[in-house]
Amino acid sequence: MTSAHESESASGSHEGWSPLFELAVREVFKLMLDSELAAPAGDAHPSPAITSMVGMAGQLNGVLSVQCDEKAAAMMASKMLGVEVSKGSTDTSDAVGEVCNMIAGNFKNKIPGLGDGCLLSPPTVVTGKDYSLCSRGDGPALEVKFLFEGTAIVISLQVHS
């Protein structure tokens, strides 16, 4: 899928990236999970029981993360596999990691120059609630919040200068 916004380039301003970031997220959920994401009501924020991260290095350096609770993670795995997946299954963290990976790839392929100029790390998935995520990123951060099947999820990209 393409968009009029895809004229933004890796070397240009990051200001125009926000709609592409949101589009990249929506496409992954639509194509791979057959799910239309909805805008959250109010300041919905998940209790981040699962956080998946993919590092980006090259013309863009940063970390893309997906944060959700166990219910949303299990739902992602269920929608991807077409079968019921229970909370805590190894498939749940694998699914959230793969969603994060696909969003990162889909986003960078929408920015001219980033497809070739930016490599992705394998996803890392952290489970548990008692932790904080600290990034050395000092650049702009993109963040989108959605309701996925009624549950809040947060996808963010912390850019390092």
Partner: protein, 127 residues
């Protein structure tokens, strides 16, 4: 005619999605082998004959491009078409994969229709 497929991806969820996409694309599967990286896939191919290989690029231990390069050393794998399925959708990755011997390239996220579009000409020997 039922085919024997090998799916290579470090994500077990993605391997299952690819298998389901093959069925949704109308392929009749006689056997599906799965491997978590290129090295595991090479080991499988020394013992088993397959008709089609679908392979990720970014994997630990041995990535998809190195896997394709080493395929020529395996008698059972000669002539078996390889389709890459990966998030790395840049032009240079596509060119690199095709120059290594891949017969097709599918970017994640994908639809079953896109899988079918890539697979049918390959399996019909037209690619």
């Amino acid at each position: 005619m039922p085919i024997r497929a090998l799916i290579v991806d470090d994500s077990s969820v993605m391997r299952k999605i690819v298998e389901r996409s093959l069925v949704q694309a109308g392929l009749e599967l006689a056997q599906v082998y799965q491997a978590g990286n290129g090295a595991e896939a090479l080991t499988l191919l020394r013992e088993n004959q397959v008709d089609l290989i679908l392979c990720d690029i970014n994997m630990p231990v041995m990535d998809g491009l190195e896997f394709i390069k080493q395929l020529s050393g395996i008698e059972k794998a000669k002539g078996v078409p390889v389709i890459m399925i990966t998030t790395e959708g840049s032009e240079s990755h596509v060119v690199q994969a095709l120059s290594c011997g891949a017969r097709g390239y599918i970017r994640k996220p994908f639809t079953p229709a896109q899988v079918k579009e890539q697979l049918l000409p390959v399996l019909a020997g037209k690619s």
